[in-house]
């Protein structure tokens, strides 16, 4: 009987948040059977419990028979406020706090929030935002027909724990981190698999980033080294990206000269770079003895082609991160400022921001005694909860991921949080990220449970230079991965989430050769020959799952979607996260804007003529409209043309057609248009590629 006692905690004890709820009429005074009172809004009733939300956002759950007779009656007749029942009271409060800050921002600008989104709008949006694909017809119907008032909270939780979650978040970070299959003439599969594993296990963001900054060893054995090795031999470029990506420090100009607009100087940049001055990614210093021996073995291989392949093998095995005992970072030869000379050694020193109040991150951060520990020091400072920008940057990024636009844009420049459209909200999101201990899943859970997220998308044009204050999410075009994964969902259904490539383990097993001293030339030689033989499968499409599927079918086995994805008209229908990173240039994904993974955060959401030609005449529309496509099969199984159209609408748009749409489509079917044509039409609508 805990609940009744909690109900009447004095409101003053509750977390003090200025209530800015625009509409005071939604609050009502509730009384229990013993006469105790509570001012709250009615959020709904389920399984004999009444849900009441007080002004600070906390939601109380009370057995209905504990309420006064009048209130019992009220609970049965009142229309619930908001969006149903959140899955726990603290979550409800966290979401409400964000809503209050958003509403405060809107009120200041005399703007009103958008109306609440319908179930149909919500289910499509939340699937795309959390699982990265549209819901199938069945998933949509299951949600729409669910009478439970807690269904929105439930579907959020379900999607956060779905296979699609990992896939979608991986796509986001793969763009941010420029994850490519091929870099330094080697395959970076272990890096991708490592990140996927971290996201699956929901490892906290500060730990993930700390691992990337401090990883040691071979790429083949430790995927986390991929972050530094991606830019092997280019540590300045790498650092520039590290600072803008993880802590929103806009220092890229300072790599070559003092920043023209911000405060960063070139010297500061090099002082930061000095933390990586003892870190070797170029294989220049490492493991010379073993490699020397190898060269002799190589020379003894008669076959020129084999020699070349063995060289490749050596290079791949040579990709590693090592710390040396000497920090060799120097100022550039063309350093032109008077505070130091070109070519001088630079001591490591952390940057500070002028508004920085959280000095804790800097405590105990004197230069370490041993240069080997330099980058750990840096990583510790950067990922600390007290770092004034680290939590804020990932919080702002995930906000953009969900709402379509950041509280501060661009997300790579948080040097001046005051320049944000809602600084209080930005700071609050940062502190929420810290409170949730960098748990990305929990953070997204809070965001998706806000009313702000569950409102209709903004339909009017965003005026130039006026801040967007989040009356709801903005209308967004699907990312290339969302669009591709949604196409595959139309053809294959929810099973599209099953296949996982796991190329890292296969590749590492094939390529990992021990080149360290001891092994005799003969042993090494046979190792090389084995590796070269297994390497062949990675020669072309990079472990392209298509080959597996072919093999499977040739063996006359039924398709097991966890082993191999279905292939239609030459297209491998796996999630984008399991396909080559990035896809080849003419693939749907690239034509639709997938980043080429050369530039961070460069996914494009713009149209082009070649892209529209592909949508109208390319393989995707064909595969979706074929008879072996799930969307066509499901619709064809319906009896009447009306039901068929409705089935297509549910599959493509997660909603039923409006009467005029139904009338037009049915008339079309009677007038020479086929099911195939209708799938073409729905696929080519703006409604399909945009996310409401």
């Amino acid at each position: 009987m805990k609940t009744p006692t909690r109900l009447f905690l004095p409101l003053a004890c509750a977390l003090l948040v200025t209530s800015l709820q625009a509409d005071n009429e939604v609050y009502r005074t509730w009384t229990d059977a013993q006469g105790r009172k509570l001012e709250a809004t009615f959020r709904g009733i389920e399984n004999g419990n009444v849900f009441l939300q007080v002004r600070n956002g906390y939601v109380y759950r009370l057995p209905i028979d504990k309420l006064s007779a009048v209130d019992q009656e009220a609970a049965k007749t009142l229309k619930p406020q908001g969006l149903g029942i959140p899955s726990d009271p603290n979550l409800a409060q966290a979401a409400a706090q964000i809503d209050m800050l958003v509403e405060a921002g809107l009120k200041k600008a005399e703007q009103k929030p958008n109306p609440l989104a319908s179930d149909e709008q919500f289910v499509r949006r939340v699937f795309l935002d959390l699982a990265g694909r549209i819901p199938t017809r069945e998933e949509t119907l299951q949600f729409i027909n669910d009478p439970s008032v807690s269904k929105r909270a439930k579907v959020i939780d379900r999607l956060l724990n779905s296979e699609g979650y990992r896939s979608h978040l991986f796509n986001y970070f793969a763009d941010m981190l420029r994850m490519a299959d091929v870099a330094q003439k080697a395959r970076f599969y272990t890096y991708q698999d490592w990140l996927k594993g971290q996201l699956s296990d929901n490892v906290p963001w500060n730990k993930i980033v700390y691992s990337m900054m401090t990883a040691d060893g071979k790429l083949l054995e430790n995927g986390a080294t991929g972050y530094l090795l991606r830019d092997a031999g280019m540590r300045l470029d790498n650092l520039s990206l590290t600072l803008s990506t993880f802590i929103g420090a806009n220092v890229s100009c300072a790599q070559c000269h003092d920043h023209p607009f911000a405060d960063w100087t070139q010297r500061q940049f090099f002082e930061m770079a000095s933390f990586f001055g003892a870190t070797e990614t170029y294989g220049a210093k490492g493991n010379g003895g073993g490699m020397q021996g190898m060269r002799k073995v190589l020379a003894s291989l008669g076959d020129k082609k084999l020699q070349q392949q063995a060289k490749n093998l050596m290079r791949v095995n040579g990709l590693k991160v090592e710390d040396t005992s000497e920090n060799d970072l120097k100022l550039p030869d063309d350093y032109k400022y008077s505070d130091a000379k070109p070519g001088e050694h630079v001591a490591p020193k952390l940057i500070t921001w002028s508004d920085d109040k959280a000095k804790k991150a800097y405590q105990g951060m004197q230069a370490p005694k041993h240069d080997e520990q330099l980058r750990n020091q840096f990583a510790k400072w950067m990922t600390s909860p007290d770092n004034p920008r680290f939590a804020m940057t990932i919080a702002n990024r995930l906000w953009k991921h969900i709402f379509g636009i950041g509280v501060k844009e661009p997300v790579t420049d948080l040097d001046d949080p005051k320049a944000s459209v809602n600084p209080e909200l930005l700071h609050h999101l940062a502190s929420e990220m810290v409170r949730l201990k960098f748990d990305l899943k929990q953070f997204l859970r809070v965001l998706c449970n806000t009313q702000t997220y569950q409102r209709e998308a903004t339909s009017h044009e965003l005026a130039d230079n006026t801040p967007y204050l989040f009356p709801g999410p903005i209308l967004r075009r699907m990312t290339s991965e969302q669009a591709w994964d949604s196409c595959a969902t139309l053809v294959v259904g929810a099973d599209v989430d099953k296949f996982k490539a796991h190329r890292g383990a296969t590749y590492a097993k094939a390529m990992n050769v021990d080149f360290s001293g001891g092994a005799s030339p003969d042993v090494v030689k046979s190792q090389i020959e084995n590796a070269v033989a297994s390497m062949r499968q990675f020669g072309g499409g990079g472990g392209n799952p298509k080959n597996n599927a072919k093999k499977k079918r040739a063996m006359g086995q039924e398709e097991d979607l966890t082993l191999a994805p279905p292939v239609r008209n030459g297209m491998v229908l796996a999630r984008a996260s399991e396909l080559p990173q990035p896809e080849k240039d003419q693939h749907f994904l690239r034509m639709f804007g997938q980043s080429d993974r050369q530039i961070a955060d460069s996914e494009s959401e713009e149209g082009s003529i070649p892209q529209v030609l592909m949508l109208m005449n390319g393989e995707a529309q064909r595969v979706i409209g074929q008879n072996d496509s799930l969307v066509v099969q499901t619709a064809s199984a319906q009896k009447t043309p009306e039901q068929q159209v409705e089935s297509l609408y549910l599959s493509f748009f997660s909603r039923k057609p409006k009467p005029d749409e139904l009338g037009n489509a049915v008339a079309g079917l009677g007038n020479g248009l086929t099911m195939r044509d209708l799938t073409w039409v729905l696929f080519n609508t703006r409604e399909f590629i945009f996310v409401e």
Binding site: L241, S244, S252, M616, N617, D677, T685, F690, E692
Partner: protein, 429 residues
């Protein structure tokens, strides 16, 4: 655009005219970042001088792999000569032994023999010679076609202003909107990818009418620039598909003898397509040709790739001249670097960014002219060094672009055409 009211009864012709007129005067709208280009930090007085603005079009021939300068545009007599002896030309300079056809048109070309670049890495070098900027992980830089579109607007009402042949666009638009990106033609013989619908014209019309009907509600509700811009891309694409504009990409309409003359390979046909696109009003055409990374047996490499270049380039210059297009079309030939004077153990030459050559013709450029020189071996610049930035500024100048004008990227960083290079004024007549 509410089509169905006007489409009953309908003929295909009427439909296409309806759609084409809808697409006329379309201004491509940008997304949220579009207004970022309004602000320009400095305005300079409109430049003028010899050659300025003479070129209306540019054909940019990019040799991928590092074209050997000594065996093509900058022949040497001594021990570094290579497999083929230099040959005489119509002008008072020599060319490499493979350039037999080009030699007959030497009176139409200027050669810069004092190019130098800082990088001997293919991708990095190709990026610099295409954009004037070093490759970075934080921004993409535009090619000259995108710069021209920024300053001069679209060159055609429906077709894109830039096309790239035998190569991927690789963000040629740089930080400009993607509507500035070159349209890729990966195989000149087959033309524009996905240009043909598998549905019959009648069926396509029915589909399009239905599309208008079923999407009307969404488009009414969401009148944002992103949605409108997509609708414009559809209009534009449909009008291209249903108009004669697509003929620009139909090489089969060219006489067989002319196709033969350019050479039947992808590069020869690409050059022919470029000429065809110039005629149709497309401003900037890149044509790429690989095969130049001749580390092994350069003799064989030249027989194949040198000959292919020689035939196509000569045919292009002659064709443009005959049609009266050479004066208004700048043809440039470049590569990411040259190749070393020393023939290596495999009979090839290795990467050599220290000195190499480029070629310019038409567009107000002098004929029979050599600018700058390399030393006796072809090892280093001897006179009048020219950087990739200078080279691109020269092209910008010829196109009449304000090459000193600073343009801010959406990320608020300042950029200029050719990164503050100096146009090589001596090549202009």
């Amino acid at each position: 655009m509410n089509l169905h009211n006007q489409l009953d009864p309908i003929t295909r012709r009427a439909f296409c005219e309806r759609w084409a007129s809808a697409a006329l005067g379309v201004t491509v709208m940008h997304g949220l970042g579009g207004n970022a280009f309004a602000a320009e930090a400095t305005k300079t007085a409109a430049p003028s001088g010899p050659g300025f603005g003479k070129a209306k079009n540019v054909i940019f021939l990019q040799m991928i792999g590092g074209m050997t300068h000594i065996d093509t545009l900058d022949p040497k007599d001594g021990p570094t000569q290579g497999p083929k002896a230099p040959i005489k030309t119509k002008a008072d300079f020599q060319l490499g032994g493979t350039m037999e056809n080009l030699a007959k048109h030497a009176d139409k070309i200027s050669i810069i023999r004092s190019m130098t670049s800082k990088t001997g890495v293919h991708a990095a070098g190709q990026y610099v010679i295409r954009t004037g900027y070093e490759q970075r992980g934080t921004i993409k830089h535009p090619n000259i076609g995108a710069w021209a579109q920024h300053f001069k607007g679209s060159s055609h009402k429906t077709l894109p202003s830039s096309v790239c042949v035998n190569r991927q666009p690789q963000n040629g638009n740089g930080f400009f909107p993607s509507s500035f990106s070159p349209l890729p033609i990966l195989d000149p013989d087959s033309g524009l990818q996905y240009a043909k619908s598998e549905a019959s014209p009648e069926q396509m019309i029915k589909r399009l009418v239905m599309l208008e009907q079923l999407d009307a509600g969404f488009r009414d509700r969401f009148q944002t620039s992103e949605v409108k811009s997509y609708t414009q891309f559809y209009d534009k694409t449909i009008s291209i598909m249903s108009s004669t504009d697509l003929e620009a990409f139909h090489l089969d309409d060219e006489p067989a003898a002319l196709k033969e003359k350019y050479g039947k390979g992808k590069f020869g046909q690409g050059c022919l397509l470029a000429r065809r696109l110039v005629e149709k009003g497309i401003r900037y055409i890149e044509v790429a040709k690989g095969g130049w990374d001749m580390h092994n047996s350069i003799d064989d490499g030249l027989d194949e790739h040198g000959a292919e270049l020689d035939q196509a380039l000569a045919a292009l210059l002659e064709d443009l001249k005959e049609r009266g297009l050479l004066e208004s079309t700048l043809v440039v030939l470049c590569s990411e670097f040259g190749r070393g004077p020393k023939i290596n153990g495999n009979g090839g030459r290795d990467h050599h960014p220290k000195v190499f050559s480029t070629l310019l013709a038409g567009g107000g450029v002098k004929g029979g002219f050599i600018y700058g020189s390399s030393d006796k071996e072809g090892m280093a610049v001897a006179d009048k060094q020219v950087s990739p930035q200078d080279f691109l500024s020269t092209i910008g100048w010829s196109l009449g672009l304000p090459i000193d004008e600073v343009v801010m990227s959406p990320s608020n960083r300042p950029f200029t055409v050719g990164d503050k290079g100096k146009a090589v004024m001596d090549v202009f007549a």
